[in-house]
């Protein structure tokens, strides 16, 4: 139906059409669409429709929908029809029947209702069903499922990834369909699949012959926020329409305990599916000798799909395939870079059991179709996926090792984040909801991460900031507020607002003169300058308290060049602003100009004026990092070195960083900012940074107090960057979200106080960044199996030892990759943390000789560690790594991990 227009009659109306005319036209369009459906009556049938007038409400289109002889009335308002038909580009595809499906929900059209794409309930393709049929076996799980369904219960099949849940469900549903039952098939991995999809399917598909309907819900764990609405809709179908509906669902094992309960209470019987028993049956039937079974089992790791492929390959080659064979098989016939990129991206998503919507593929859609036709990927419910998680791991492993995929097409966790950003609000919410509750397919979380709550708050906040930005893109001529608001708006997908702000910011600052030393304000200083005047006053107060003793950096408040300090800070902001610009607005020329300005503005010892105020240097480093520079760039390197210099050596570091500006930007905020700057620049956690971080943690009472949200957001960011673990974040994230929500409801900001003006945009930008970082960390946990291979087995070393030695391979100093170096640096951090922990446990009133002995022992270990970690770089030799390894085993005991070793070649004595 290429020329079919779902709103033909409505679109033919003039823009000034009355409500009556609009609703009558909508009625016509609805009738036209229902007439095009199958001749057989639908499960939910439109009996009649009429435009009616109600006092106080106006005209409404009243539609009577019937199932099993029970008619139910739903009302379509003028606003709902207008909102739907204003979607002129048709991206949401809301037809009259989709609108009716919305209307069949409880309280469907709120004041802010806007149409959204509704996922269509599509059954797997014939090819997919054929594949599932290959896995159709009578197992204990399949018997239990059929028994429970016969007893009229709702069933959820839970199990490990790749255990054959989907195949089991598909085969049961196929049998029910063959027996005449109606089947509605949803895959919740598509965030657009929701209760409306069930209603739409029942409005479109014919009535079942038996009067029974089976609603298949695949991947219940994928979208926790939608579950309550989904089961509410199913209850409504049972109670209001009298339909005999049963649910057959699949879910991760870890989500099992959370599936019961809910509102309304879900009576879901859980059946555990086990890959082992199915693999056993497949092996027995395959005719492969029993001696080879253990090898295939090890290869499959309880994944029935891998086992099936291995059995097929055995048939073709006459031998048990290796992991490399499987990798080659799953990436066969891939020749072009486009195909490799798409396969790699799908593998990155597949490890997290995510799928790529067709529209996300963009211009590479034909590549995906080619891969699908070659049997390398699947298309289900309008999305592409690579298959089971284990298969995704194999493909990703192959791509990382043979195609250098991480260098060419971004790291796996970045691909996931890009996918979430492109997937829109619902995908983001679904994924964050899942991350809040579940760690992995096998592990549930005891405490929520509060990501979904944070994100929902940020979305509301983003809308309000977008409005504010539309009214005044210059944010009251306050550069800080404008830049942080722009950063938050980009992360919340309000890209156009960034452009509006950019027009103002770019017109306000000039830095393109050949010898420009610092950005020049066009038309006088911005409102932020007022802050710096106050900062100088605050510094003067600090000087008065210090009395005759000069400040550490030796710069007195009355000697300060306020304008220079202000413009250095502006330089940091502008670098961050241009560096984090959305791809389509990014202007590399501007970034290069700003980097050049930074090079000229940097002092000889690496700081950015004034040396008394390290947060200015930290701000510039943060800006340079946003412009994609790291510590390997000379400007960043010098600034980072200066930040780490002790006061005695002319630097700002004195176990932590002092603000140098009195009560303005306190020591906690300055320390958090400096730590963030160093970590973002790629500086590993050195002992001094650990000390500063420990100090920051100890000052929690200070930075967590009411009114210091900026400090708290900065401390939270520093925590994530320093620990690279999200476990400490949720508590503070929750507090921060609560405070900002309260602030939104009843603002207490003092508009006259300069710093207050950028508090909300700053915290919003930080929170969006923190959410991203936690998602990245959590994704990395799932990617860990692929990204962090274990230490080489001794057998591999001995194999290498008998090979002829070359000069290069026998050298005792192979270059370590960044990933390996990072792993060893983290090992050193673990040793440092353990030592600190051991000392702090003993640092109490009971200093007995044995305790003193242990403390001195640990101090000696720490000194040794400092010495070893200072030598740890990409050129570290075997001896150094062995010493670190030995120290790690001594200090951490069994908690010391097997770190990945670089290939040093055979040992000389081998």
């Amino acid at each position: 139906m290429p020329d079919y227009s779902p709103w033909l009659a409505v679109n033919a109306l003039s823009p000034n059409a009355s409500a009556y005319e609009l609703l009558t036209a909508a009625h016509k369009d609805l009738t036209a669409q229902t007439a095009m459906l199958d001749k057989r009556p639908a499960a939910l049938r439109v009996v009649s429709a009429a435009t009616e007038f109600l006092d106080g409400v106006g005209h409404e289109l009243v539609v009577r929908v019937e199932a099993m002889g029970r008619p139910t009335e739903v009302r379509l308002s003028e606003d709902a029809v207008r909102a739907t038909t204003e979607d002129t580009d048709g991206t949401h595809g809301v037809t009259p029947l989709v609108l009716l499906a919305y209307a069949l929900q409880k309280d469907p059209f709120g004041p802010s209702w806007r149409p959204k794409r509704v996922g269509h309930a599509e059954r797997p393709s014939a090819a997919a069903m054929e594949y599932y049929a290959k896995l159709d076996r009578l197992t204990e799980s399949s018997t239990k499922v059929e028994l429970q369904l016969e007893e009229g219960r709702d069933v959820v099949v839970i199990g490990e990834h790749g255990c054959g849940k989907s195949a089991l469900v598909a085969n049961v549903a196929d049998k029910r369909s063959g027996a005449g039952d109606g089947v509605v098939w949803l895959n919740l991995a598509d965030p657009a699949d929701g209760p409306e999809s069930i209603m739409l399917a029942l409005l479109e598909q014919g009535r079942s012959n038996t009067g029974h309907y089976l609603v298949v819900l695949e991947n219940l764990h994928a979208n926790p926020p939608v579950l309550n609405e989904m089961f509410d809709c199913l209850n409504r179908l049972r109670s209001d329409f009298g339909l005999d509906v049963q649910v057959l669902a699949t879910s991760w094992k870890s989500a099992g305990p959370r599936l019961a309960g809910g509102e309304p209470t879900r009576e879901l019987r859980q059946v555990l599916a086990e890959g082992k028993s199915l693999i056993s049956q497949l092996l027995v039937e395959s005719g492969i000798s029993e001696a080879n079974w253990p090898t295939i089992r090890r290869l499959a790791q309880d994944d029935v799909h891998i086992a099936l492929t291995a059995i097929d390959l055995y048939g073709l080659r006459g031998g048990v395939p290796t992991e490399a064979d499987l990798e080659a098989y799953y990436t066969r016939q891939v020749s072009t870079d486009d195909q490799r990129e798409m396969l790699y991206r799908l593998a990155c998503l597949g490890v997290l059991e995510l799928q790529m919507a067709t529209r996300e593929a963009g211009q590479l859609r034909t590549t995906l179709e080619q891969l699908r036709d070659d049997g390398l990927i699947f298309q289900v419910d309008g999305a592409y996926l690579i298959g089971s998680r284990r298969r995704a791991q194999l493909v990703m492993n192959h791509a990382l090792q043979h195609w250098k995929a991480a260098d060419l097409w971004k790291r796996p966790e970045h691909n996931v984040w890009l996918h979430l950003q492109r997937g829109g609000e619902r995908l983001m919410k679904a994924t964050l909801g899942r991350l809040d509750q579940l760690v992995s397919p096998d592990m549930a979380r005891t405490d929520s991460l509060h990501l979904l709550t944070t994100w929902e708050m940020l979305i509301r906040h983003g809308r309000s900031m977008r409005r504010q930005s539309a009214e005044d893109p210059s944010w009251g001529d306050n550069l800080g507020a404008a830049v942080f608001a722009a950063s938050a708006l980009v992360q919340l997908n309000h890209v156009e607002s960034w452009q509006e702000i950019a027009d103002k910011v770019r017109a306000r600052w000039s830095y393109d003169a050949p010898d420009c030393k610092l950005p020049e304000p066009v038309g006088g200083v911005t409102a932020d300058y007022e802050d710096f005047v106050k900062i100088q006053e605050s510094m003067a107060e600090e000087d008065a308290i210090l009395g005759a003793a000069p400040h550490l950096a030796g710069i007195r408040a009355d000697e300060l060049d306020t304008d220079r300090m202000y413009r250095n800070w502006v330089l940091g902001l502008l670098l961050g602003f241009e560096g984090a610009a959305p791809a389509k607005y990014q202007d590399q020329q501007r970034i290069d100009l700003l980097i050049e300005v930074a090079r000229r503005a940097q002092e000889d010892d690496g700081n950015f004026y004034p040396a008394r105020v390290p947060w200015v240097t930290a701000r510039v480093v943060l800006g340079l990092c946003q412009a994609n520079l790291r510590v390997d760039h000379p400007v960043v390197e010098d600034a980072c070195k200066w930040l780490q210099l002790q006061v005695s050596e002319g630097g700002p570091f004195d176990n932590w960083w002092r603000s140098g500006t009195g009560t303005w930007n306190r020591d906690e905020a300055t320390t958090a900012m400096s730590l963030s700057a160093l970590r973002r620049a790629g500086v590993p956690m050195r002992p001094g940074m650990n000390t500063a971080y420990a100090w920051l943690l100890g000052r929690e009472r200070e930075w967590a107090t009411q009114g210091r949200e900026i400090d708290m957001a900065q401390a939270l960011e520093a925590t994530l960057l320093c620990t690279e673990a999200a476990s400490d974040a949720p508590h503070h994230l929750k507090t921060l979200v609560q405070r900002i929500t309260t602030e939104r409801r009843s603002p207490t900001l003092l508009r006259t106080a300069p710093e207050e003006r950028l508090r909300i945009p700053f915290v919003a930008a930080q929170l969006a960044d923190i959410v991203w970082r936690i998602v990245q960390l959590e994704s990395l946990k799932l990617f860990a199996d692929v990204i962090n291979p274990g230490r080489p087995e001794p057998s591999e070393l001995s194999e290498v030892a008998v090979a002829p030695q070359t000069v290069e391979s026998s050298a005792n100093g192979a270059t370590m990759s960044r990933r390996l170096l990072r792993a060893w640096q983290r090992g050193c951090e673990q040793i440092e943390g353990t030592i600190r922990d051991k000392i702090s446990k003993r640092d109490g009133p009971m200093r007995t000789p044995a305790v003193e002995k242990v403390i001195s022992e640990q101090l000696a270990y720490r000194a040794r560690l400092t010495e070893l970690s200072s030598r740890l770089d990409e050129h570290a030799d075997r001896e150094l790594l062995e010493q670190i390894d030995a120290l790690g085993s001594t200090v951490c005991g069994v908690a010391w991990p097997d770190l990945p070793w670089p290939d040093f070649g055979p040992e000389e004595d081998a």
Binding site: K841, M846, T848, A850, V851, V854
Partner: protein, 129 residues
């Protein structure tokens, strides 16, 4: 040098015996045959001394118990055996210093209570009365 301190449970057990002895004396007087030549006041004083001794001993036991608990809280799983031993000893040593008063008072009360036992020492003969 190790500190040998009886376990708090033993001290509590002894305190229970002392208190029981005191109360037993009171009940035996109140339920005994009338016309006894032993002064009721003396027996009441003696039984009160037994109970006071029990009270002081319980106080001492509490101090040792608190020291053990503090040591347990201080000692972590990864402490070595010598560390554990020394830390416990140190806590007990400090507790013993604090328990000197209740222990002395216990001994005093106990000695007095024994000396005042009816028929144990004929005080009139000793004092020449």
């Amino acid at each position: 040098m190790s500190i040998a301190v009886p376990a708090p449970s033993t001290l509590n057990f002894l305190a229970g015996l002392f208190a029981g002895a005191g109360i037993n004396m009171l009940t035996s007087v109140s339920t005994g045959p009338p016309g006894s030549d032993v002064s009721t006041g003396k027996i009441a004083l003696d039984s009160a001394l037994w109970v006071v001794a029990a009270g002081f001993l319980t106080w001492a036991a509490h101090l040792f118990q608190a020291a053990e608990r503090d040591a347990d809280l201080y000692i972590d799983r990864d402490f070595s055996e010598p560390e554990k031993h020394e830390i416990r000893q140190e806590y007990l040593r400090r507790a013993l210093r604090r328990a000197r008063l209740p222990l002395t008072m216990t001994v005093l009360a106990l000695v007095c209570a024994v000396l005042l036992l009816p028929g144990f020492i004929r005080w009139s003969g000793v004092l020449g009365g």
